[in-house]
Amino acid sequence: MFQNFPLWPISASTMSGRVDALFIFLLVVCGFMTIAIFVLILFFAARYRRRPGFEAEQIEGSNALELTWSIVPLAIFMVIFTWGAVIYFQGRTPPQGADEIYVVAKQWMWKLQHEGGQREINELHVPVGRDIKMIMTSQDVIHSFYVPAFRIKQDVLPGRYTTAWFHATRAGTYHLFCAEYCGTQHSGMIGQVVVMEPAQYEAWLAGGTSGAPLAVTGQKLFAELGCSTCHRSDAQGRGPDLDGVFGKPVLLEDGRTVTVDEDYVRESILSPAAKVVKGFKPIMPTFQGIVSEEQVNALVAYVKSLAQPPPGQATRSANLAAPQTHTEQVH
């Protein structure tokens, strides 16, 4: 009746070992303290049980003891805090050069898109041994991207990007859960992460129908939506030139400086008047309701690609002009 009955989750990423180690440390420390308290209580209960002829001995208290059992636990807590903070910091800091996956969550499915243009629904294929970074947003309510085998979880919010990353260490198929309650079919918003050996992954990439890389889709959209009439690279446009701006700080009309990251590009498309670059007028129309979350992602990927290989423009055009055969995998 009960096929496989494990008591420990599968461990399949670089993060899982670290989290497990800390978890086991906590189990040992807290387990020891808990058992010590239990034993003490049971011992006192038996040793000092009420018997005729024995009176309780009144004790006022002891400042030394109180100090001890405040400071010693606090010291232990600080060790736990520091260890946990280090792991959390690693989890929140995606490594440079990670492969990027754009995730759009909606009631009640996961839509995932690779940089190469492959789309998937409720299934994510990734190679073993590479850093994978997810750039996630939601179309409706709050969801949460949770892969127990990787020990990662990150809420996916409407209206902004959140990120998570992992480095799979073991091929296999793992649960992808939505961990933040999101309505009727919350428990049906389950997918799987398929971690493959590099060779198989290449085969999987080659196996599907072709689709343009995300940045190319973005470039097309950029032209179709008329963005390119203002955002020109000759510095004559009514909008700022987007070449090479990604990742750089820009000065705004109101004197603030912001770094151009995914969220800023996104906000500029959807709420263009919010943070206008110095020297430009707030004349850009909003694209809220005009472009879908996936199209925003494509545009972000395009703007990002404009900043990529810094040396020479040749690489840039080569990058985008040659769409290799890519797969379109929709499940």
């Binding site: 209960a45 409407p158 428990s187």
Partner: protein, 545 residues
């Protein structure tokens, strides 16, 4: 002072002073209001418990087969709302606190008796609104009302439920206000702060949270209602709002609210341990200050519910370290209870068994709280059954254990009758076993990765869910038993003496049940708290061989 020279049935006391429904519904006697609360919260406890049983039954199998997905979502939502706002928050303060605060400090009543009655009526109005919301479609947002689901996506009765909790909040605020004023202004001559029972200190700390936390929840719910009804966009991302702000404001109240539930329970357990160890509480001052410390520090940790929600990395660090600070006063309490038993004269009466159970479950709940405050581990276990297990250990395991322990401890004072001791011990044991069977497997489920609020789940989680469901039936029996024998004892129980446990405290110096104005003559206090060396242990209390 007052001794039961003649049986309670012949003497005038608060129960037989007058009869009839009007004498109850218009009473301003804090003891009668406490009983009104007792009836109402018991009603809601069994409604919430019924939802819980349905939830557990649904989870017996991985497929969603007993109820529909929508129904399941409503079940866990209403289970949470009913249990938290209509049972746990009022439980000890409004029942035992109402009954005992004036008695313990030697006052005739609370400072504002009519406001006390008003607060019960507000509770009832809120309860009726909540029942109405349930019967006309229910709510499916989770008790947490997270936006934008609650404001823009749920099709259920969010507005009514939100307003219901708004009204219940005012009931809670008025209770807290009454307690603070009473404790400051109504103490009997000689009842100094350092002579107050620690239960009073715990309720004082609880009241601070009720006063300063609840209004923030109230305004947050108002904003949710405005957003839902009139399209205000305060938490709406399409208007530049931030759904995380809702979470900040919500948890600013709702984390301290956990301490509203647990602090009074700690107070009860402190009284019980002192009485059945026949000792002054070890480190009185530290236990008292720990209550206040928990109330204050409890306000500084709320965003530990939001470590994966998208808050800034740096604020996560701040909230994590602050969360460890609030663990210290809790640890101080556990150590002091243990130390109080040292060289005591311990008897294993029913209240003491509940107190043991409380310490055990609270220790486990508290320790697993350390896991959740730990950033690296929290990412994996938050929003899973690990969290569910953790907060049930605190809010059900500990808080309800304390509540039941207190009900047994003060039942002779409240009703003038003794409950059957054998049944009492059996029920305590049943609750303890049933509870652990229900919730311990959920820790494992959580670390395995089973998310909370799942109507159906992958089959590998089944066996632990079956264990949990089995445990919940035992737990249900454990919770029904006391209700049955308490009712039984009201008619058939042995008459209680004024002080059946040989306990310290002013409430034991008046008759059982007490007269309407509590004391025949105004008490003058000239002794320290827990002066057990001057009180003989009664013979009724069972002695181990």
């Amino acid at each position: 002072m007052a001794t039961a020279a003649f049986p309670a049935s012949e003497r005038e006391h608060y129960l037989n002073k007058d009869y009839g429904i009007r004498s109850w519904l218009l009473t301003t006697d804090h003891k009668r209001i406490a009983l009104l609360y007792l009836l109402s919260i018991t009603f809601f406890f069994f409604i919430g418990g019924f939802f819980a049983l349905l939830i557990r039954l649904e989870l017996l199998t991985p497929a969603g087969d007993l109820v529909q997905a929508d129904t399941y979502n409503k079940l866990f939502t209403m289970h949470g709302q009913v249990m938290i706002f209509f049972f746990l928050i009022p439980s000890i303060p409004a029942v035992l606190g109402n009954f005992l605060v004036p008695l313990m400090i030697g006052a005739k009543d609370l400072a504002f008796p009519r406001i006390n009655l008003l607060s019960w009526y507000l509770y009832i109005i809120a309860g009726v609104m909540m029942l109405h919301a349930m019967l006309t479609g229910g709510v499916d947002t989770g008790w947490t009302f997270y936006t934008p689901f609650s404001t823009a996506f749920s099709n259920t009765r969010v507005i009514e439920a939100g307003l219901s909790i708004f009204v219940a909040g005012f009931s809670s605020i008025l209770t807290g206000l009454n307690f603070v004023v009473t404790i400051h202004r109504m103490r009997a001559p000689g009842m100094t702060w350092s002579r107050l029972p620690l239960f009073i200190w715990a309720l004082y700390a609880t009241s601070i949270i009720q006063l300063l936390g609840t209004p923030v929840l109230a305004i947050t719910l108002v904003l949710v209602v405005l957003e839902r009804a009139f399209h205000f966009g305060i938490f709406d991302p399409t208007q530049g709002g931030d759904p995380l702000l809702f979470q900040h404001l919500f948890w600013f109240y709702s984390h301290p609210a956990v301490y509203i539930m647990i602090l009074p329970s700690m107070g009860v357990v402190t009284e019980i341990i002192a009485c059945f160890s026949r000792k002054r509480i070890f480190g009185y001052k530290f236990v008292a200050l720990a209550s206040i410390g928990i109330a204050v520090l409890g306000f500084l940790v709320w965003a530990h519910h939001m470590f994966v929600a998208g808050i800034s990395l740096y604020s996560a660090l701040i909230f994590s370290i602050l969360s460890y600070l609030v663990a210290v006063p809790s640890a101080i309490k556990v150590f002091n209870w243990t130390a109080t038993m040292y060289k005591g004269s311990i008897s294993f009466s029913t209240p003491m068994l509940y107190a043991f159970g409380f310490i055990g479950l609270f220790t486990m709940g508290g320790m697993t709280g350390l896991f959740l405050a730990c950033l690296g581990v929290d990412v994996h276990v938050t929003d899973t059954y690990f969290v569910v297990a953790h907060f049930h250990y605190i809010m059900v395991g500990s808080a309800v254990m304390g509540y039941l322990g207190g009900m047994h401890f003060w039942w002779p004072k409240i009703s003038g009758r003794m409950y059957p001791e054998g049944w009492g011990r059996l029920a305590a044991l049943t609750v303890f076993i049933g509870f652990n069977l229900t919730f311990f497997p959920q820790f494992i489920l959580g670390y395995m990765g089973m998310p909370r609020r799942y109507w159906q789940y992958p089959p590998e989680f089944q066996i632990l869910n079956v264990l949990s469901t089995a445990g919940s039936t035992i737990l249900a029996v454990g919770y029904v038993l006391p209700m049955v024998y308490f009712l039984w004892s009201m008619r058939y129980g042995k008459h209680a003496t004024d002080n059946p446990w040989g306990a310290a405290g002013l409430e034991w110096k008046t008759a059982s049940p007490p007269p309407t104005f509590n004391f025949d003559e105004p008490p003058q206090v000239s002794w320290e708290a827990y002066d057990y060396e001057h009180i003989p242990a009664p013979e009724e209390v069972p002695v181990a061989r």
